[in-house]
């Protein structure tokens, strides 16, 4: 399921980032861990139940101004869909 642009994704219960001081940054969940880097870390950090998908997309557009905005939004929706399927994110 793809999120609506107005949805506010949030990490699912039992899912969290490891500590800021730990390298590499990982998304920790029951019996699994997902390595995060670059955009995936930026996206996960914004899955706080406050930012809308629209707002997350805007932040990514600003961070990656050289890439096509439509492409970035498409990748973002795809990544959120994956995290949702893995029960890492609710929206």
């Amino acid at each position: 399921m793809r999120p609506e642009m107005t949805a506010t994704p949030r990490l699912a219960p039992g899912v969290r980032l490891n500590e800021k001081t730990q390298e590499p940054r990982m998304l920790l969940m029951p019996e699994r861990a997902l390595r995060l880097n670059g955009p995936s870390l930026e996206i996960v950090q914004l899955c706080d139940g406050k930012h809308t998908v629209e707002q997350i997309a805007e932040k990514l557009h600003a961070l990656y101004s050289k890439a096509e905005p439509e492409r970035i939004t498409g990748d973002l929706l795809g990544y959120l869909e994956l995290l949702h399927k893995e029960r890492a994110v609710d929206f």
Partner: protein
């Protein structure tokens, strides 16, 4: 030369004490007594060592980890050290205040095991009353934002309750549900005859759980652990020997998996003498079946050897008499006939009286 992978999880087998006496318990037949259990201080040191060795998660298990009076302190120390903390529990002994204390200490994930969907089955399997209490624990859990997995251990004596187990899942909607078929080591091996499901039961499970998976997509993750006697290829046991996890027993021995002590001649090092990293990297027990140098044919030249790592070493020893043999559940194993003989026996029609009254050996208290 085998490169040494980074471990993912520390399995902290805190104690062998448990209020339940499950007929398929994965604890060894020879259990560690209370007075030999590691102290709080040693466990706290181990959490720091685990993080230094690159470990991300700790699974508190047992026996029953809640039987340790210091469990809240241990969860807190694990979180402080930087670990993701899971509790794998029967839910006994627990009250609401203690659950809140565990959550406040930073517990990330609570895995609650079920022996069936009714008190009667729970009693038959664990020789204890626990089902009504588990339902209370579920109720308390709804008040906290914490990861929850329901774990149903399934086998011939409770597969007929699958629909009721599913109702419980749909009612509660945990993040994850596991339907874990019994694996035949320790107490489960002693009770194998009464536990191995029939082929008909297995087909029913596969179909029912496929539908459940579809229905709960995006809501609850549904995991089905197949009874490996029926598999074509073996499971990648513990994610590969010495690749993903290290288990610390109640008295501090460090094992590559919970059953490794059934393999004769294995020497385990103890956390009182060496650090976790040293043990992970150099312990003969961990090095023994790491990589693929130890493999025999057909594993040695098999395309799947880095997918399933030859299956389970303990099962190879228990069924084929050689821990370096191909796991006998593999359809390519020269000893597959041993597993087929068990299945042939299980699938033979039996008098109803035997089906209704299995003669179980219950796991005793460790003393």
């Amino acid at each position: 030369m085998t490169t040494i992978p980074t471990p993912l999880a520390l399995v902290a087998e805190l104690t062998h004490r448990c209020p339940l006496h499950c007929v398929y318990c994965s604890n060894p037949l020879e259990m560690v007594k209370r007075d030999r259990e590691l102290s709080t201080e040693i466990w706290v040191r181990l959490f720091k060592e685990a993080v230094e060795a690159g470990i991300l998660q700790v699974d508190f298990t047992g026996g029953e980890p809640l039987a340790r009076p210091d469990i809240v302190e241990l969860v807190h120390a694990a979180r402080q050290a930087g670990l993701y903390a899971s509790l794998i529990t029967s839910g006994l002994p627990l009250d609401e205040t203690r659950l809140t204390a565990l959550v406040n200490a930073g517990l990330d994930h609570f895995q609650l095991s079920f022996q069936g969907s009714t008190e009667q089955t729970g009693r038959q399997i664990s020789n204890t009353s626990s089902h009504p209490h588990k339902l209370r624990v579920l109720e308390w859990l709804t008040k906290h934002r914490i990861g929850v997995t329901l774990n149903f251990v399934i086998h011939r004596q409770n597969i007929h309750e699958l629909e009721e187990m599913i109702l419980l899942v749909e009612d509660y909607r945990p993040g994850c549900v596991e339907f874990a078929s019994v694996q035949y080591y320790g107490w489960a091996l002693a009770n194998r005859e009464a536990l191995v499901p029939t082929r008909g039961q297995l087909e029913y499970c596969v179909e029912t759980l496929k539908q459940l998976k579809e229905r709960l997509k995006g809501k609850t993750r549904v995991v089905f652990v197949l009874p490996d006697y029926y598999a074509t290829y073996p499971k990648p046991c513990v994610g590969g020997w010495g690749r993903k996890l290290m288990l610390v027993s109640p008295h501090g021995d460090v094992l590559p998996c919970h059953a490794a002590n059934v393999i004769p001649g294995m020497q385990f090092e103890n956390v009182k003498e060496k650090s976790l990293r040293e043990i992970w990297e150099h312990s003969p027990a961990f090095c023994k079946f790491r990589g693929d140098q130890w493999m025999q044919e057909p594993c040695k030249t098999c395309d799947r050897r880095h997918l399933d790592f030859g299956g389970c070493r303990c099962q190879a020893f228990l069924l084929a008499g050689d821990a370096a043999a191909t796991d006998p559940v593999c359809s390519l194993a020269p000893t597959r006939e041993k597993v087929d003989a068990v299945l042939a026996h299980v699938n033979k029609p039996k008098p109803a009286i035997l089906e209704e009254n299995p003669q179980f050996v219950y796991r005793p208290k460790p003393g």
